[in-house]
């Protein structure tokens, strides 16, 4: 009896702690939204207001009309980069992963170690070497310079390889008997059967492309090739800051991924669990 009461008390305590923590974790989102709809005097007021007096949508129009900062253009750039990077990088990794898992040719081990070898180098350390190469190829301030280095994800190759290694061999054989070539088996049978895996890793790749900062900061120096993260950081370095506009910009920049997290959370959680535990 006593023990039972103890577990009930413990589970109530767990709920209380979790609810308090959840509130704390959501506070930054709330403050951001609150400020994004306030006027400048409201944001800087010394006494705290829980809500803006009115929804100031003109913060958002000001954001897109500011000639110093091409915010709309930077959103389009970010969208383009993420929309290209996510499917292409995932497809390239899936292709290589499948070949390494299933197509037995001489030299396969060499190819595998060449790909895995690149994982030994910490990611951020390659930024300068890559800048040297992309710069020498004229990639500064270009769309391809922003996108190309992010298309080759050796880690995703490893994940796909172990995914395909546990694939049932029967369906491949059935495809071969139907007269499909090796490429045909991959394109017609394997690829349609890896949709969930592709969705999980593609979602992670989209997030990474949208949020990446250091590489676009180096390559996209001209405002016309800014991504949304660079446009955001330009608020912090400009002389005069319109605070509500800054918060409106931040809200716009995080909105697509927040929606994505709410809609595709299952895939994202799966992708995180997969990539985290493999390393």
């Amino acid at each position: 009896m006593n023990r039972y009461r103890g577990t009930v008390a413990a589970s109530i305590a767990t709920y209380v702690v979790l609810c308090l923590l959840a509130v704390v974790f959501l506070i930054p989102f709330y403050v951001l939204l609150r400020n994004a709809f306030m006027t400048t005097p409201e944001v800087t007021a010394t006494d705290w207001h829980w809500l803006p007096s009115a929804l100031n949508w003109n913060n958002f129009t000001a954001l897109f009309d500011n000639p110093e900062r091409p915010f709309g253009r930077s959103l389009v750039n970010s969208l383009l980069i993420a929309v290209i990077t996510a499917p292409v990088s995932t497809l390239l990794a899936s292709m290589a992963g499948y070949a390494l898992a299933r197509i037995h040719v001489p030299g396969r081990a060499v190819v595998l170690s060449l790909i895995v070898g690149t994982l030994m180098i910490p990611q951020a350390v390659t930024f300068l070497p890559t800048f040297v190469v992309v710069g020498s190829m004229g990639g500064v301030n270009t769309m391809w310079g922003l996108i190309a280095p992010g298309l080759f994800n050796a880690f995703a190759v490893v994940l796909f390889r172990s995914f395909y290694a546990s694939f049932p061999a029967e369906i491949e054989e059935a495809g071969r008997l139907d007269g499909l070539s090796y490429l045909g088996v991959y394109g017609r049978i394997i690829l349609p059967n890896s949709v969930t895996m592709i969705a999980s890793l593609g979602a992670l790749s989209f997030i990474e492309a949208w949020n990446s900062f250091l590489w676009p900061l180096m390559i996209g120096q001209d405002p016309s090739s800014w991504t949304v993260q660079i446009a955001l950081s330009s608020f912090l370095t400009s002389q005069t800051v319109n605070l509500p506009e800054l918060f409106a910009g931040t809200a716009v920049a995080i909105l697509p991924l927040v929606v994505m997290f709410l809609v595709a959370q299952r895939h994202i959680v799966q992708g995180i669990a997969m990539s985290g535990l493999k390393s």
Partner: protein, 325 residues
């Protein structure tokens, strides 16, 4: 109709020898062809953007390469020497080691604690998981904007100062105060908020892989919650913990985004009060355009990361493998 009908018959019929040989040859060729087509894009991409890049950069680190990326003006270890004698670079190394020593244990404990709590509740688990994971959707730059301009802004309207006012504390410039270094609170809470959900997901996956009968046995032995955690949960999470620690260490040592967004003034790189090694190298490469020294720094940072991860492996990962040396 007739074609599909005769197909199975074709396979049972013995084919002429020459046809079999030709078919086997094209079979092997088509296999090799498929392998090349599927792996070539990845190999070429990694070749150009990793192997050529890193090889070139390695050579540059031994060259005098100001405003140029051509090789030839060899200077031995001068670039490395110059960088290591630069007080600002050494400060940045100290800074990042301190930051890592702070953020990694805090994030580790917080994400493990959250995972245990979230995993314990039956109803509302999805809600809590979403609430803690949602910050991971936010970029470091966006989070830095919220932290710098709203939560920890030095003016009285900032949230931290508003809360402080309730307790009669004067408005504090959180980011500018260097003694005591209050900016650590800003940096640590920001990264903790952003990352803890990711690691919580990994810990939950690890927790769910623990066989339930171990908990039943512990309950039969009369173990309380803390004892169960220490004797069952934590030991069973060992490999998960080692992997997560490694991820956290590597991420912390490469910190750049939020430091840059919070401390950069835009005027000139290198004048920031607080900077990480990567920020220093960014300044060297982009502002001074000294690719030789910048490359040397990239390899020094790699060395630091490798040393730290080896040390971690030595202490935690391989201690089970025996005491061979």
């Amino acid at each position: 109709m007739t074609v599909t009908g005769t197909r199975p018959l074709d396979k049972t019929r013995p084919a002429p020898v020459t046809a079999t040989r030709r078919r086997r040859l094209t079979e092997r060729q088509s296999k090799a062809f498929a392998f090349v087509v599927l792996t070539a894009p990845m190999l070429i991409g990694l070749g150009v953007f990793r192997y050529v890049a890193i090889g070139w950069s390695f050579l540059l680190s031994f060259s005098e390469a100001r405003r140029t990326i051509s090789l030839g003006n060899w200077v031995g270890f001068d670039n490395y020497r110059q960088l290591l004698s630069d007080e600002r670079f050494r400060d940045s190394l100290t800074m990042i080691v301190l930051f890592t020593a702070l953020i990694v244990p805090v994030t580790f404990a917080a994400s493990l604690g959250l995972a245990v709590l979230v995993n314990r509740v039956k109803r509302g688990r999805a809600f809590f998981r979403t609430a803690f994971l949602l910050p991971a959707a936010v970029s470091y730059v966006a989070a830095a904007m919220i932290w710098k301009m709203a939560l920890f802004s030095g003016v009285p309207s900032g949230l931290a100062n508003t809360l402080g006012a309730l307790f009669g504390v004067d408005p504090t410039p959180w980011i500018q105060t260097t003694s005591p270094p209050l900016y650590w609170i800003v940096l640590v809470t920001l990264r903790l908020w952003l990352q803890v959900g990711l690691y919580m997901i990994l810990f939950i996956a690890g927790l769910q892989a623990i066989p339930p009968h171990l908990y039943e046995a512990a309950a039969l032995d009369g173990a309380g919650p803390w004892r169960t955690f220490r004797s069952v949960t934590f030991p069973m999470l060992r490999s998960t913990s080692v992997a997560i620690l490694l991820l956290m260490l590597i991420a912390a040592l490469q910190a750049f985004d939020e430091f840059y967004a919070i401390f950069s003034t835009g005027a000139s790189l290198g004048s920031e009060p607080v900077r990480t090694p990567l920020m220093h190298l960014y300044g060297v490469a982009l502002q001074d355009q000294d690719y030789g020294v910048g490359s040397a720094g990239a390899f020094l940072l790699t060395l630091l990361i490798v040393l730290v991860t080896l040390l971690q492996g030595r202490i935690l990962g391989f201690s089970r493998a025996g005491d061979k040396d």
